[in-house]
């Protein structure tokens, strides 16, 4: 209850920021709309401003902004000539596909390999894995994507260079998504690997591990029957808190692979000063982050009985 109130306050504050930031910045949204060769009289200009709601005093604009949000109306994009909800709606599924599959794969890969690495004693294989993941972790996401694009799409020609699909069949979509998902997966896996590894190393010396051995378990059976669940607790919170971060990673991946997703939309809207779209995306991402956190709050007690209430 207290938690959900906090989320509501957070949403309110971020939404409010979302309203003011673009308006506080230099640049006129009309400048890009009209192009370089135009003759326009003041009256049409005023009409246009009125149409975009830019003529009202700020408080009125602010109230309108809120009433629109509450009606799930994100306004109208004069760059994309469509409702913002449509513009975002058309791209959101692709981004969600990219982000969703990457989180899934990245979390599996990262936690599993990280758990193995943290569990087994130092060995060359273990060390190489850690160094590899550490390098990926330390690489800017665009650099990783570019390396993959260059090697696998261009040099080897195994994958297409751009877009989310060509023909639209699922195998075709798969081929288009393989490298982007790979980039983001590796990037996320590296993060979860390091955290899981550290977490398992901490858990490894706990008393319950000794007791599990005393019961007759040994080796990886202890890891999977006892340590894994405990060690992966921080990952759950991390994935939720990371949601914004993951989206930004997706942004760079989308730009490199020319995918029509939310990330590229931010970039395009940014250069076009498209306030409504920028605000819309920021809002959607914030809502998703909050939802992810609330979901984590809901899921966490299921795997960690210690925080369960009223039992």
């Amino acid at each position: 209850m207290k938690k959900s109130l906090r989320y509501l306050i957070a949403l309110f504050v971020i939404f409010t920021l979302n309203f003011f930031i673009p308006r506080a910045m230099p640049g006129d949204p009309l400048a890009n709309l009209l192009g370089e060769d135009y003759v326009i009289d003041e009256a049409s200009l005023a009409d246009l401003r009125a149409e975009l709601g830019l003529d009202r005093p700020l408080p009125v604009q602010f109230l309108r902004y809120w009433s629109e949000i509450l009606r799930l109306d994100l306004g109208y994009s004069f760059r994309f000539h469509d409702r913002v909800t449509h513009v975002i709606g058309a791209r959101l599924p692709w981004t969600l596909l990219l982000v969703g599959s990457s989180i899934l794969l990245g979390a599996c890969m990262g936690t599993l390999l990280g758990a193995f690495s943290g569990w087994s004693r130092a060995s060359l294989k273990n060390r190489t894995g850690t160094v590899l993941f550490l390098s990926v972790y330390s690489m800017p996401p665009f650099f990783l994507s570019l390396l993959l694009l260059y090697v696998f799409a261009f040099r080897l020609g195994w994958f297409p260079l751009k877009g989310v699909y060509a023909s639209g069949e699922w195998t075709d979509i798969l081929r288009h998504f393989f490298l982007p998902v790979m980039s983001l997966t590796l990037y996320l896996a590296a993060r979860y690997y390091l955290i899981m590894r550290g977490s398992v190393i901490q858990e490894r010396d706990k008393a319950y591990v000794l007791y599990a051995r005393a019961k007759g378990l040994f080796g990886r059976r202890i890891l999977f029957r006892h340590v894994f669940k405990n060690a992966s607790l921080p990952i759950v919170t991390l994935i939720a808190l990371d949601f914004g971060f993951i989206f930004s990673g997706a942004l760079f991946v989308e730009i490199v692979f020319s995918m029509n997703g939310l990330g590229t939309l931010i970039y395009d809207a940014l250069l076009a000063r498209d306030y409504p779209v920028l605000q819309g995306i920021f809002l959607i991402i914030t809502v998703m982050v909050v939802v992810a956190n609330a979901a984590a709050d809901a899921v966490y007690p299921l795997i960690d009985p210690r925080v369960r209430k009223g039992v």
Partner: protein
């Protein structure tokens, strides 16, 4: 020891991977392009790659889609090779002696792609529709007093003041079918990702932004010369590197960007592969260094001349263009424009530049190597630039350095496009780097007057010159119809630029467009380059 270096080793092995793959470059890009490849019995497909990103399926307002739509919804007039307006959809255009009544006669073999004929009613509809609903066409409201239909093919336009260049205006707006667009209440809020009715040889079939393709098919009711191409696909790339890779890999057949060349540095590779041919034209537009004429010391012509002398145009040509261009002249306008008048070539002379700066009152009084203004105040110049446009970032770096060499302190203010426009409109800069577009060179009274005339506004327009002499020149040009006098006025504009230097051209560049050898028969349009109606009608694919 080995362990300590293992982090380094992994990264080195990445480098090694890169190196190993590098020698493969000759063969692998050509192997097995996985995207759809046409076999002989398939329809002939022409794939055009561009970074001119279409962002919405709106042929009027999306700057890039409207560019491609000029083959589906052509303009009434077009610019011919001499860069003069010429009928495209109209057969004849006549102006009355007082230049206030214009009569347009449409060609009679034009049909919309749904089979209906193109009529004068469509012309009237288009003009009134744009007048009422399209903000940038505001001039129609102020200028056109009556549009009347004479017969199916003839329409008469009356305007409220003599205007000799009305035909120029008809080279910009696409013709819209009345029976489709009259139901579209607000073009600002309209998108159509499906088939768009047009009357050109090709029509837009689908605008699929997720696939990143605008697909065009032949207009079944086109009565003109038949195209050998069945489908034109415009592939949209979000970055130029990937586009270049796609071209090499033959995912696409030609590279096309409005008023932009294929990156010069990638040309050698394409030449080496032997799979490509190139079309070259000198750009109508150019990159320039503009001055804020409202502020001293930029308001002093001596200062501006000194700046021009301080620039090393030869090095700019070599470094920025890799010699794919020409050394500009002080007359600003490149020779690709009609009525070009040779003026003095820009030449580096630091000594003379320093002398003229001294003369203009910018001296280095405290001997710190940098010049001060008359009152002893440090002279700090702000160079406004949008680094997202090609060349701009490096150009500003070089200009900053050249000016420092003659004792002028310049700080680069890099901002993205929209802020650039607002700062430019508020005159909050001293120097500015920008470019002119081919169309921009022709707007207003042509010869780049549109960029300088203080009475105008617009995205790239500096509107810095309010010299009555220049404004009178513009007005004379706008009202002139006699070709001979027109030409001499154009020369006077170039002389004005050379003398007064409202801006200095930084580079005159070639536009080089590579295309795959599988196709031949390309036509170059001075404004639109390789992508134009004539090309689509003449280009054909080699038989395998």
């Amino acid at each position: 020891m080995g362990r300590r270096l293992s982090g380094l080793a992994v990264n080195l092995s990445l480098l090694a991977l890169f190196l190993m793959l590098h020698p493969l470059s000759g063969s692998s890009p050509n192997s097995n392009p996985p995207d759809e490849r046409a076999s002989p019995q398939d329809p002939v497909l022409l794939r055009i790659g561009t970074t001119d990103l279409v962002q919405s399926a709106n042929i009027l307002l999306d700057a890039n889609l409207s560019l491609f739509a000029h083959v589906s919804n052509p303009t009434l007039m077009k610019m011919n090779q001499e860069i003069e307006p010429e009928g495209q959809l109209v057969e004849a255009i006549e102006a009355s002696a007082d230049l206030k009544t214009w009569t347009l006669t449409l060609k009679d073999d034009l049909f919309w792609s749904d089979g209906l004929p193109v009529t004068s009613a469509d012309v009237r509809f288009t003009l009134t529709y744009l007048r009422d609903k399209f903000p940038a066409a505001g001039w129609i409201k102020n200028t056109v007093s009556e549009i009347s239909i004479v017969d199916r093919h003839t329409v008469v336009i009356r305007i409220n003041r003599p205007y000799g260049r009305l035909d120029f205006e008809f080279t910009t707006y696409p013709l819209l079918p009345q029976h489709v667009w009259e139901t579209i209440e607000n073009p600002l809020r309209h998108t159509n990702p499906g088939r768009i009715i047009g009357c050109g040889p090709f029509i837009i079939d689908r605008t699929d932004l997720n696939r990143g393709v605008v697909a065009m098919v032949r207009n079944p009711h086109w009565k003109g010369p038949e195209s050998q191409i069945d489908v034109v696909e415009i592939h949209l790339y979000k970055n130029r590197d990937v586009l270049a890779l796609a071209l090499e890999r033959e995912d696409i057949d030609i590279f096309y960007e409005y008023a932009s060349s294929y990156p010069y540095v990638n040309l050698d590779r394409l030449r080496g592969s032997g799979r490509f041919e190139f079309l070259e034209q000198l750009n109508l537009g150019l990159y320039f260094l503009g001055f804020n004429l409202k502020k001293p010391p930029m308001s002093d012509p001596k200062f501006r001349r000194a700046v021009a002398l301080a620039l090393d145009h030869e090095e700019i040509l070599r470094l920025i263009l890799l010699d794919n261009g020409r050394k500009p002249q002080l007359g600003f306008i490149p020779p690709s424009m009609p009525a070009f008048k040779p003026t003095r070539e820009c030449a580096l002379d630091r000594k003379e530049a320093a002398r003229m700066l001294d003369e203009a009152g910018c001296r280095d009084r405290n001997r710190d190597g940098l010049r001060e203004l008359g009152g002893g105040k440090d002279l700090r110049l702000t160079l406004l630039v949008d680094p997202h446009k090609p060349f701009n970032a490096r150009l500003s770096e070089l200009v900053e350095e050249y000016l420092r060499a003659v004792g002028l302190r310049v700080s680069i203010k890099a901002v993205e496009g929209s802020s650039w426009v607002s700062l430019k409109d508020r005159y909050s800069y001293d120097l500015v780097i920008s470019r002119t577009s081919p169309w921009g060179m022709l707007m207003h009274a042509s010869w780049a007057t549109g960029y300088f005339d203080a009475r105008r506004t617009g995205e790239g327009v500096l509107h810095t010159v309010d010299d009555p002499k220049f404004l009178a020149l513009c007005d004379d040009l706008l009202a002139e119809t006699d070709p001979g006098r027109f030409r001499s006025l154009a020369h006077r504009v170039q002389d004005y630029y050379a003398e007064n230097l409202p801006a200095v051209a930084l580079l005159w560049n070639k536009i080089i467009t590579p295309y795959n050898q599988d196709f031949y028969g390309w036509e170059l349009d001075p404004l639109y380059g390789l992508f134009n109606i004539d090309t689509l009608l003449s280009v054909r694919r080699k038989q395998p």
